[in-house]
């Protein structure tokens, strides 16, 4: 079993090498690959790929502050975060919407439709330009139009987005402030496709040549109900009291596939889902495992081939058995297969609602003004603290006095009992969006409605998109809350469990609402110059008439005068 030898021989080598103080590039790195598969309530299938590269952050604070020599850690990423002084970076490409009602919470928390980028930038006087060039560099690296995340889309959340790394401080806020600032931007209407996936794959040590990554088949991946591809970079502690940190790069692909669509049955296999099989583990990986979250009842299904290890109701929270396949033990290619003992799959009549989720929608009609309302559902029987974040583009002029937080059907509850904290950043035209953030305490099983009204700006005609009549996309609102492990965030709990990091007692859950389409007043682009010319002419006519009226003199003239004129004329002629 070579995979067992690998770490040990590294150790041995370390022992030998240390006196001669030779340190090899890749031995301070470690690489793990995981695939989590979990059947969902509505017959869909969740497949979550996760690739974790850990590197000793000692390299980060070298004398010249650069991290020069890369092993498994991708050099391009390292360079980017060094050069732009990034402390923590989260980049997510998502296509489709995560259906919280049907699927519970996603494994990778960032699930906003479109492309989402948020980073903690080290405090620096050139922090703005760093952010700017960071977006440009990333857009170059991933062939995405991230460079459109400019000032008008960038916001600085005060209450919502916290560092997830070593300085993680959901509990104590003041610590996270030190040394870094957060920047958040999202492109709601960015399509994700193969040209984004390819560079993403190139960051993996084994590319898609070996290991779990071989399943990443673009044709199949993009024919799913939901597809999300992310990169998370964060510093993590190596030990309990965080004496030494290491830099963690987590690459994830989450996709929700629909076996029912083709066959009407829930059966699936690697070859049917991805059109491929896993040949072998990635040789440089420390661990490479496929985990299947099984349904609770044994008799419902068969799973072939049989799993290596099964974790039966291990953690207190996990109520379902977990099958684990250790790829490095498998010599022959693995084609996992699951068949259900049932005929046609029938959708459940009731959706299984997660504990906290939200929906956002436009209100009102007409091109002059409108509103936006967010319904936040709390299905728990105790009250829950959440933080609400929304960044509204400048061309929708919010009126803060119209902000209204109400609990639907429970009018007696006072708004001030719900809103714990409020942060509002007014927009600056053409340069800054509005940011609305609130800390809310949701009453037990309630629906809290946050609504605010706005005016629609009449844009300059150069500011309209080529598809002007489509409307403008407005990004999602983000609701962040801490929840203990439960049925709706099972998948992430299991992943935590399997990758045997410590399962946290409470998980940080992000809920993304829908993205919206704001239709602004749109001029008729077919003939702008005609309009201009016509207007000009009308103005000219108006001016002309008024002017003439002004300078026309009215006077009562008597005929005598006329006669006189003639007479003296004659006189003149005679005299001469």
């Amino acid at each position: 079993m070579p995979w067992k030898k690998l770490p040990s021989c590294i150790l041995l080598l370390l022992a030998l090498a240390y006196p001669v103080q030779s340190k090899l590039s890749s031995q301070k790195d470690s690489f793990q690959e995981d695939l989590l598969i979990s059947p969902l309530k509505d017959g869909k299938l969740l497949a979550h790929f996760q690739f974790t590269t850990l590197v000793d952050a000692g390299g980060l604070d070298e004398k010249d502050g650069r991290y020069a020599h890369y092993g498994l850690f991708p050099k391009s990423i390292g360079q980017i975060i060094d050069h732009h002084r990034v402390q923590e970076l989260h980049l997510t490409f998502t296509q489709g919407r995560w259906q919280y009602e049907d699927w519970g919470y996603p494994v990778a928390q960032s699930a906003g439709t479109g492309v989402e980028l948020w980073a903690w930038m080290k405090l620096d006087d050139s922090i703005e330009s760093n952010w700017r060039s960071l977006t440009n560099t990333l857009s170059g690296l991933f062939c995405a139009s991230l460079n459109f995340i400019d000032g008008t889309l960038t916001s600085q959340p005060e209450l919502s987005f916290r560092p997830e790394g070593a300085k993680n401080s959901y509990n104590h806020d003041e610590r996270m402030r030190e040394g870094a600032e957060v920047r958040y931007g999202i492109l709601p209407h960015e399509n994700v496709c193969t040209e984004n996936l390819t560079p993403w794959i190139k960051l993996l040590p084994c590319k898609s040549k070996a290991g779990i990554a071989t399943l990443l088949n673009a044709h199949k991946l993009y024919d799913t109900n939901y597809h999300s591809m992310a990169i998370h970079i964060r510093p993590v502690c190596q030990d309990a009291n965080c004496t030494s940190q290491s830099l963690e790069l987590v690459q994830t692909v989450t996709s929700v596939l629909d076996p029912v669509r083709e066959s009407g049955r829930r059966d699936w296999s690697f070859s049917s889902l991805f059109g491929r099989e896993i040949q072998s583990a990635c040789p440089v990986s420390d661990r490479s495992a496929v985990t299947v979250l099984l349904p609770s009842e044994q008799h419902e299904y068969q799973l072939t081939p049989s799993y290596d290890t099964i974790i039966e109701r291990t953690a207190a929270q996990v109520e379902r058995p977990i099958a684990v396949y250790n790829l490095s033990q498998h010599t022959e290619p693995l084609n996992l297969q699951m068949t259900w003992n049932e005929g046609e799959f029938s959708y459940p009549l009731q959706t299984s609602k997660p504990r906290v989720y939200a929906h956002k929608y436009m209100t009102g009609y007409g091109h002059e003004r409108g509103g936006v309302t967010v319904n936040i559902f709390n299905n728990m029987n105790e009250s829950q603290d959440i933080s609400y974040f929304d960044s509204v583009p400048w061309f929708l002029k919010l009126y803060l006095h119209t902000l209204e937080v109400s609990v639907l059907g429970k009018d007696h509850i006072d708004q001030n009992d719900i809103v714990q904290d409020l942060y509002y950043q007014p927009a600056v035209d053409r340069s800054r969006p509005q940011v609305l953030e609130m800390k809310l305490r949701l009453p037990p099983d309630s629906v809290t409605a946050v609504s605010i009204e706005f005016d629609k700006v009449f844009l300059k005609y150069t500011e309209h998109r080529p598809d002007a009549n489509r409307g403008f996309d407005v990004g999602p609102a983000v609701i962040t809350t801490l929840l203990p492990a439960g049925d709706d965030n099972l998948a992430s709990t299991v992943l935590e469990l399997v990758t045997n990091r410590d399962t946290p007692t409470r998980q940080n859950i992000k809920v993304y609402t829908e993205i919206l389409l704001a239709s602004l007043p749109t001029p008729d682009f077919s003939m702008p110059y005609n309009v201009i010319t016509l207007t000009c002419t009308v103005i000219a006519l108006f001016f002309g008439s008024i002017f003439n009226l002004l300078i026309r003199g009215f006077s009562v003239t008597e005929d005598e005068v006329d006669e006189k004129k003639h007479e003296n004329k004659d006189e003149i002629s005679n005299s001469s």
Partner: protein, 625 residues
């Protein structure tokens, strides 16, 4: 020397001032003399123009201008299998159709949910015919298209009750079968909403309001109902009964005379023509035996035109779909005209194909429908009159009124004896006008109009003084009260204007007042025609001639005649006439008006009370001045 010669010549050529003034006076005299007849001429030109519109020479073939639509160019999947499904649904619907609203909604909910939709039931409160609180239940489901960002959606709706009054069984059945079909395919770039409304108009309105968060917080289930993105287009299926249909009728007029983008209609027509191959028509006119002779075709077109004008002028939506237009949703209703037997009829299969193909086209849309016209008249399903063609008549009406009012304004109070005094009668009267009286008259009448408006509104229940046992009495009371108000207003106005001492003043006054009234009418006609052409046109048609004829006379019979004329034109009487023409009681007409105002937000009522009637009242004073 020579220079002087020239000067002399020049001086000679100049006619003496007197002559020039004479000429000018003549000219003006001519103008003043002919303008009434000219304006009348303009009016008739306008009328003839309107009558020409249905003639094929003056309207064009419709064409699809949005390139993305590509109507009737997809191969459709609605197969015999789906027809069987639809048939099953029909039988199951027939079971539940007579049950309570709740159970009907429950049934729809279950079906959609099992098809994999995000189904929900919406309870709503609305006003019934007697404007009391009433309950209703809509059932709908949303298909979140895979991989789409869900910012756009398409709406396929069907009411439980058809416009013909019977149950919309086939409509709902085929909608449900289509829902299953839609769910099977993954090429959707927009979400698809299936909506089955309870009673047609009220249900639709309630759902649209809830979806767009209008009167938010009024109803819990409306507030928390699932939603999708901005609805781009809507098709409302109305196929009454369980029989087969011989032709497809299209209803497109919306509330307040709004119209859907012409491309939507073109798409449906094209699909119906080439893919589904069903005979189609506008409204419920005969689609089978097409007009042969030019005369017939002209008459048919005229019929279409008048239908549209009727709907628009009343502001009454011709179908449920018409309600959606306000929310920037282009919508039409497709209605099956029941087979009389002689022509080969069509059933679920071709209905399904029609809707599927249409939705596939709409699914291609990259932007909201905007390429084609929003202002048009359809002389038949495939020919249209563009705004450039139909706008001039109304402008002519307005011009005719404005010219008269100008003449009145500038004509001196007593031109005959004026001439004797100064050699030349001036082009304009220099005598001081006292506008005060005239304006006060107008203000009075407008105030009266507002008052009437507030009383007539269903919301107003006489401060609870009268509890309305049945609305007929209340309506009648309201009508009579408003008439009373009008009458008093008129009396006040007359007293206001004729309380002046000198007869000259009065002569002056009626001229000024009439000219103001005409100008105001012209203004109203012109401006309203921009928003709702038909209303403007109709108003112009009925009002122009009578209003221009009004003038004070010494002869009593003439006065009375004029008074009668005005009374006929006053809203109440017009309403009564309309009601009798459509063989219904005036009360019902009022009820319809009020319902439109209350439920659909049609502002015809407001227009009548605050714009139309005041002028009418003011003109009485001209007679009795």
């Amino acid at each position: 020397m020579l220079l002087l010669r020239l000067k002399e010549k020049f001086a000679r050529r100049r006619k003496p001032l007197k002559q020039r003034l004479e000429q000018r006076r003549k000219l003006i005299g001519l103008l003043r003399h002919y303008i009434p007849s000219i304006s009348i001429l303009l009016y008739f030109v306008g009328v003839i123009w309107l009558l020409l519109l249905p003639y094929n020479g003056y309207n064009k073939e419709t064409y699809v201008s949005e390139n993305a639509l590509l109507p009737a160019q997809v191969n459709v999947y609605y197969s015999q299998n789906d027809v069987n499904i639809a048939n099953e649904f029909r039988d199951r619907i027939l079971e539940v159709v007579d049950k309570s609203r709740e159970s009907r909604a429950e049934f729809i909910f279950k079906e959609l949910r099992q098809a994999g939709f995000h189904a929900a039931i919406q309870h709503y409160t609305t006003k019934d015919e007697s404007f009391n609180e009433a309950e209703g239940v809509n059932a709908f489901g949303i298909y979140h298209a895979p991989r789409s960002d869900g910012t756009e959606a398409l709406l396929l709706s069907a009411p439980w009750v058809s416009r013909t009054g019977e149950y919309n069984v086939n409509g709902i059945a085929s909608v449900l079968s289509l829902a299953k079909l839609f769910k099977r395919n993954t090429y959707w770039s927009k979400d698809i909403i299936i909506l089955i409304t309870d009673e047609s108009v009220r249900g639709m309105q309630a759902w649209l309001n809830a979806y767009h968060g209008v009167d938010f917080g009024s109803n819990y289930s409306s507030d928390i109902m699932p939603r999708s993105g901005a609805i781009q287009a809507a098709i409302n299926m109305d196929f009454p009964g369980t029989r087969e249909y011989e032709s497809l009728a299209i209803y497109f007029e919306g509330a307040n005379g709004q119209l859907p983008n012409l491309d939507l209609i073109n798409t449906v027509i094209t699909v119906a023509k080439y893919t589904a191959q069903v005979p189609f028509t506008l409204h419920d006119n005969d689609a089978i035996n097409r007009p042969q002779t030019p005369v017939e075709s002209y008459l048919a077109s005229l019929k279409h035109l008048t239908d549209t004008i009727r709907f628009q002028a009343l502001g009454h939506p011709s179908s449920d779909a018409g309600l959606a237009l306000r929310y920037k949703i282009d919508a039409i209703t497709i209605h099956g005209i029941t087979a009389t037997g002689m022509h080969q009829p069509f059933d679920f299969h071709r209905m399904g194909i029609l809707v599927e193909s249409t939705f596939r086209s709409l699914n291609n849309l990259l932007e909201h429908l905007h390429q084609s016209f929003f202002f048009y008249f359809l002389t038949n399903a495939e020919r249209y009159v563009s705004i450039g063609m139909y706008m001039p008549p109304v402008i002519l009406f307005a011009c005719c009124l404005v010219l008269q009012s100008l003449v009145l304004w500038y004509s001196p109070a007593r031109d005959d004896n004026l001439k004797q005094e100064t050699g030349a009668s001036l082009a304009y009267s220099t005598s001081k006008k006292n506008l005060g009286a005239c304006f006060s008259v107008l203000v009075t009448t407008h105030a009266a109009g507002l008052l009437i408006f507030y009383i007539v509104r269903p919301a107003f229940d006489f401060g609870g003084a009268i509890v309305a046992p049945n609305t007929e009495q209340v309506t009648i009371v309201k009508l009579s009260v408003s008439c009373g108000i009008a009458a008093t207003a008129i009396l006040m106005a007359v007293s206001l204007i004729s309380s002046k001492q000198s007869e000259v003043q009065v002569m002056e006054n009626w001229r000024v007042l009439k000219s103001l009234c005409l100008a105001l009418t012209a203004l109203i006609v012109a401006s309203i025609s921009l928003i709702n052409f038909s209303l403007g046109a109709v108003m112009g048609l009925i009002v122009v001639i009578p209003y221009s004829l009004i003038q004070p006379t010494a002869k009593m019979p003439l006065r009375l005649l004029q008074a009668v004329m005005l009374t006929v034109l006053s809203p109440v009487v017009t309403l009564y006439l309309v009601a009798t023409l459509s063989r219904s009681h005036v009360v019902n007409a009022v009820t319809v008006l009020l319902t439109d105002y209350e439920v659909v937000d049609v502002w015809l009522l407001a227009f009548m009370c605050t714009a139309y009637w005041p002028v009418n009242m003011a003109l009485y004073t001209v007679i009795f001045a």
